[in-house]
Symmetry: C2
Subunit: 124 residues, 2 copies
DNA sequence: ATAATAAACGCAACATTGTTGCATTTGAAT
DNA sequence: ATTCAAATGCAACAATGTTGCGTTTATTAT
């Protein structure tokens, strides 16, 4: 994987925030980048385990960089996400672990996606 | 709200399964129905509290009828959903309650969306 | 430093999902 | 049967995401 300007910019923006950003938000933050290239960059980063993808309460796809306070170096997304209903931002709550739960017989889990919906610290 | 053929069909299909179905799956199951009408029907049902909407692991919007084993008559979606990575079906686990969790200071929750990813009973 | 090459980019074109406006049809109540 | 609001279906549009392909660029070896 080559160190190109587009990739460096995306990494820079994502690593500087604890928010999960959508492709269009990212596109808007540096308007020089082609939409398709951005999609491919995000896909590459995700496959490389550098960022993770989550879908917010409204069905919007978002990507987040796991900072070093991420409990799991493999970025398996075992933390909780918080979706604010006012500002619509999505926070990675890196320290809130996904609770375990009891599944019915025959069902086996490989991951749990927990998205909390509510009002964030800044909108309260 | 009028009892029209389209609405009756949608209710019939959704009430006969414990799966959450996407608009296109519903459209395919009775090919006479206009896509737009279906979207509006689902929206109306959702606003009336008869069905609930959930986004699956792949970002696909799905709708499910809460059967009488649904723990909450207000359909507030306080149960867990299971998304099979093989058949891609989404099950309403009506008896598995959403676990509560501890949020950071300042964040308040109005709902938690839990989607378990894994292999279902039939694909195991 | 330069040339070679595989990777990344950007454009066109397309597919899917979802929404809105508007004219027409239809369910239900009189 | 008549009426009228509600529901439908069509056209048109917007947003999101993907693929093919020719061009550019970052790295690697010369």
């Amino acid at each position: 994987m080559k160190a190109t300007p587009v990739r460096l910019k995306v990494l820079e923006v994502l690593s500087a925030t604890h928010l999960a950003l959508s492709p269009s938000e990212l596109e808007a933050s540096f308007s020089k980048v082609d939409r398709i290239t951005l999609y491919r960059t995000l896909k590459d980063f995700e496959e490389a385990g550098m960022i993770h993808k989550i879908i917010d309460t409204d069905g919007v796809t978002r990507f987040a960089f796991c900072n070093d306070d991420c409990p799991d170096a493999t970025h398996t997304e075992d933390h909780v996400h918080f979706n604010c209903k006012k500002c619509h931002k999505m926070f990675c709550l890196a320290h809130v672990q996904t609770p375990s739960l009891q599944l019915p017989d025959g069902f086996s889990s490989t991951g749990i996606n927990t998205v909390v919906h509510g009002v964030c610290k800044h909108c309260a």
